[in-house]
């Protein structure tokens, strides 16, 4: 309300506004008076008066008066208005109007005065206020400047906080003023614990270090310093920039240990690479992209003795052996064209004029765009390798030679073969003019084989009578190796050369090996000959023995033949003529005399029988054995039938096991049964009824009788020819029967044995050399 009043009073106003307000106040107050008339009665002044006052306050006296006039006019006219008029104006109203007029004028004057007073008051206040604002304006400007600086500082600090470098600021007394976040991290201290403390107290190790020197120098010279230094307590390298600032020092630093390490590693790797190249290659060189040598190579100069000028361009080729130059140049050219690896072997002249075999290699160093920047090459001394290769070749040749000699030994038909192979190989391997092999036999005969350079594949055999005869060619250099031989022989391998150094260690070794091989070969040859001799002797012996045996057989044959022919003839004479004598002189002879004659004739007859039996026995051995399937039972039965036919009166019971079979010579088996059954028949002669049994027991055939038997003590004699255990008068026989059986059984590979007892019969068992 007060503000509204103030507003009302203070607002500057135009005349029309004042007039409009006065009019408005009049209309409102008149209207209101008319409306509230019933409730206020005769006191309707109250409302219009308020309007007057307000109008005066707003527009001054004039406005107040205008409102007053208008209100009076309203009072006069209003009762006649159809709207509000309730009654016609009374005379008294004029009085009222007059009073009102007076009051209103008064109030307008008061209002105007009030208004003016207010306005002056306000004016004064405004002036005072202006003065005060003047003052206030000055202090605000200063505040604004401070604010701006504060904002700027904040930004710097913000930057410092965000930057990747560590940073701190020191005051003139080396005390920490500020530490950024990275600084906190790197130094390992919170800034609260650092600010205010002296640098040297926090990091005492800095004292006397290059860091301190640099900081002090920066402060003294007022010039920034920059350096990289290793700080041992942190085991790290720091790149440091220190800027002197007013009353202090600003330091920025970062940990560059990783970069330093990488750099160091790179340097080490380069150094290592350099040593490696130089360890492999004795010479390292570079050329430009076109292959021209420009850059100096100390190693090339040292190796070849060329000057820098001499090696420039293609001058290096002059150090290459003339024979290798062309190839080296063409390979180099080809590599340049191909922009590929260059690799060639050649001989390089050394400062002393000798040549060293080297392996030259080079490769292009390529730019980022793929063009050749330069060529980098090396030369490696390959003397050792070349020597090793040569040695390997010699070893291979030697091995081949030894194999060849081995083969030759296996195939060799003569000593000359061995000598040729060994000498040819050895001469070629060692590279000497002549190689010879000298052998002195036990009989002092000398053989010498020589292979010489003139005809390298031919061996020249010589047989000098003595060592002095046909002496070998003399050579300035020679090697002689004695060979160890058996059989009283001596041998030597002799090599001759016109060149010195032909017989080095390897040569001597090879010669030794070949000598050993030759010795073996010669020994084998000798043994082979002896063996052949031996084998020949054996064959001869066998042939002789066979011939002797055949002779003996033939003689035996002739003997038995003549026996069969001639031995019996005299017997016939004896018998015949005795018979004639008997006839002629029978009457003149006494009984005894006739008896004698009879005995002579009987003896002759027995002798004839003996001869016949002997021949039979001999024939058994001479005829071949022919095995077949034999019905043994049938053979035995047939023999028994013959025996019965010869002596039908004999009482003999024969039991034959039927179905006996064997793989045997049927003729011989029959002879065996003739003898065995004949014996059984004969020796059962004293029995009233003899018993003969033929059968098989445990795979052996047997013939059993219950005849005279015999004493087993004599069984050894039983099977020998002409051995008899019984009296011939009692049991006639020549004693050849069992010998015959024995021979037949043996020829079949079988066995014959017997069981017997005197007067209790005998059993003869036999097998026929095959499983039953």
């Amino acid at each position: 309300m007060r503000d509204a009043v103030a507003q009302l009073l203070s607002t500057p106003r135009s005349g029309s506004a004042r007039f409009a307000v006065a009019l408005l106040a009049s209309l409102v107050s008149t209207g209101l008076s008319a409306l509230v008339e019933p409730w206020v009665g005769g006191h309707f002044f109250v409302v219009p008066l308020a309007g007057v006052v307000l109008s005066a306050l707003y527009g001054g006296v004039g406005a107040g008066l205008m409102t007053t006039v208008l209100n009076i006019a309203g009072f006069v006219l209003l009762p006649y208005s159809p709207v509000a008029g309730t009654r016609p104006p009374l005379e008294e109203d004029f009085g009222r109007a007059l009073i009102f007029l007076l009051v209103a004028v008064l109030l307008s004057g008061i209002g105007a005065a009030l208004r003016d007073s207010y306005r002056r008051n306000e004016q004064a206040r405004l002036e005072a206020e202006h003065a005060r604002s003047e003052v206030e304006l000055t202090s605000a400007a200063r505040w604004a400047a401070d604010e701006a600086r504060r904002v700027a500082d904040t930004r710097v600090i913000d930057v410092l906080e965000r930057m990747s470098d560590a940073s701190f600021t020191l005051d003139a007394d080396w005390r920490f003023l500020y530490v950024n976040r990275e600084g906190e991290r790197v130094m390992g201290f919170a800034r609260e614990s650092l600010v205010g403390r002296r640098l040297w107290d926090v990091f005492p190790k800095l004292v006397g270090s290059p860091f301190e020197d640099a900081y002090r120098r920066a402060v003294e010279t007022q010039q920034p310093v920059e350096f990289v230094e290793f700080y041992p307590p942190f085991q790290a390298f720091f790149e440091v920039r220190a800027f002197p600032v007013r009353d202090g020092l600003s330091v920025f630093f970062r940990d560059v240990t990783e970069q330093r390490r990488a750099q160091q590693a790179l340097q080490e790797s380069e150094a290592r690479f350099r040593s490696l190249v130089l360890a492999i290659a004795q010479v390292v060189w570079t050329t430009n992209a076109e292959g021209f040598t420009k850059e100096d190579s100390a190693t090339w100069r040292a190796f070849t003795g060329q000057t820098h000028e001499q090696m420039t361009g293609h001058g290096w080729l002059q150090a290459v052996h003339p024979d290798d130059r062309e190839q080296a140049a063409s390979v180099w050219k080809e590599a340049l064209a191909r922009r590929g690896l260059y690799e060639v072997e050649y001989r390089l002249r050394r400062p002393d004029g000798t040549y060293t075999p080297v392996l030259a290699r080079a490769a292009p160093v390529v730019n980022a765009d793929g063009s050749v920047h330069e060529w980098m090459g090396t030369n490696t001394d390959i003397t050792a390798r070349k020597q090793a290769e040569a040695q390997l070749r010699r070893y291979a040749e030697r091995l081949e030679a030894l194999h060849a000699i081995d083969r030759a030994i296996l195939q060799a038909v003569s000593m000359e073969d061995v000598a040729r192979t060994a000498l040819c190989f050895l001469r070629r391997l060692i590279g000497c003019e002549e190689a010879s092999l000298l052998i002195t036999g036990p009989g002092e005969e000398i053989s010498r084989w020589t292979v010489s350079a003139e005809d390298p594949e031919a061996v020249r055999p010589e047989h000098p009578r003595s060592a002095g005869d046909a002496p070998p060619r003399e050579f300035p250099h020679g090697l002689e190796l004695p060979l160890t031989l058996g059989g009283g022989r001596q041998a030597a391998l002799r090599l001759g050369s016109t060149r010195e150094g032909t017989f080095d260690e390897l040569a001597a070794q090879m010669a030794q090996e070949v000598a050993a091989q030759v010795a073996i070969a010669l020994e084998q040859g000798r043994m082979r000959r002896e063996l052949e001799l031996h084998a020949g002797g054996l064959e001869e012996q066998v042939a002789t023995r066979t011939a002797e045996l055949q002779e003996a057989n033939a003689q035996l044959e002739a003997f038995s033949y003549s026996v069969s022919h001639d031995l019996r003839a005299p017997l016939r004479g004896i018998d015949g003529f005795l018979r004639l004598v008997e006839e002629d002189v029978a009457g003149a002879l006494s009984e005894r005399g006739r008896g004698y004659l009879g005995r002579v004739r009987a003896a002759a007859g027995r002798m004839g029988q003996l001869i016949d039996d002997l021949l039979k026995l001999s024939r058994l051995s001479r005829t071949p054995l022919e095995r077949g399937d034999v019905d043994v039972s049938a053979v035995a039965a047939s023999v028994v039938d013959e025996l019965r036919a010869r002596e039908p009166t004999r009482g003999v019971e024969v039991s034959l096991e039927p179905g006996l079979r064997a793989r045997a010579d049927s003729r011989l088996l029959r002879v065996a049964f003739e003898n065995l059954l004949g014996n059984a028949w004969k020796f059962t002669g004293r029995r009233k009824t003899g018993h003969i049994q033929v059968g098989r027991l445990d795979g052996a055939f047997f013939v059993r009788d219950d005849g005279a038997g015999f004493d087993m003590a004599y069984r050894d004699k039983l099977f020998a020819p002409f051995q008899r255990l019984h009296d011939a008068a009692e049991y006639p026989g020549t004693g050849i029967g069992l010998a015959t059986v024995q021979r037949i059984v043996r020829r079949h590979g079988g066995r014959l044995w017997t069981e017997a007892a005197v007067d209790q019969g005998a059993t003869f068992y036999f097998t026929l050399g095959e499983s039953p």
Binding site: S560, Y561, S562, S564, H565, D566, R568, A569, P570, L571, R572, G573, D575, G576, F577, L578, R579, L580, A604, G605, G608, D612, L615, R619, T623
Partner: protein, 151 residues
């Protein structure tokens, strides 16, 4: 001698055997003439009219030849071979009369076309019997080729 019974050629080197044989022939009552040859050569001479028998009429050949194998000079087998190889003696019967019973002798004899093989027994009685039978058989029973009866 009665030529009807012809001749027997006895080839035998053993004098005992010759005598015994002759006695045997005599006892057997053979009327044939017996000619004795003491070895192979003599036998061949007789057969072919050569040597000591040169001029003999070889058209007349013995009714039988009793041939021993074991003979001096020329063996009995050879005599047999020569006889069989010659047309004049090819058909003359030959009886091998020997002591041997060797298989080899038997085989060779038959291979050489001997007509018979007889072994001489040791016993005199048997010998007489064998000889008699032989003489009778070959000189009377056996019919030889016609030449024996010529003239």
């Amino acid at each position: 001698m009665n030529p009807r019974y012809g001749t027997i050629l006895l080839v035998e080197d053993n004098a005992d055997d010759v005598d015994l044989s002759l006695i045997a022939f005599e006892r057997a009552g053979l009327s044939a003439q017996v000619v004795v040859a003491r070895d192979g050569v003599e036998a061949l001479d007789y057969l072919f009219g050569t040597g000591s028998h040169a001029g003999r009429d070889v058209r007349e050949q013995p009714r039988v030849v009793l041939l021993d194998l074991n003979l001096p000079k020329v063996s009995g087998q050879e005599v047999l071979q020569r006889m069989r190889a010659d047309a004049r003696t090819r058909e003359v019967p030959v009886v091998v009369l020997t002591s041997s019973l060797e298989e080899r002798d038997l085989r060779e004899s038959y291979r050489n076309f001997a007509n018979s093989y007889v072994r001489k027994p040791v016993s005199f009685e048997e010998f007489i019997e064998v000889t008699r039978q032989l003489g009778v058989y070959w000189t009377t029973l056996n019919r030889a080729m016609a030449q024996g009866e010529v003239v």
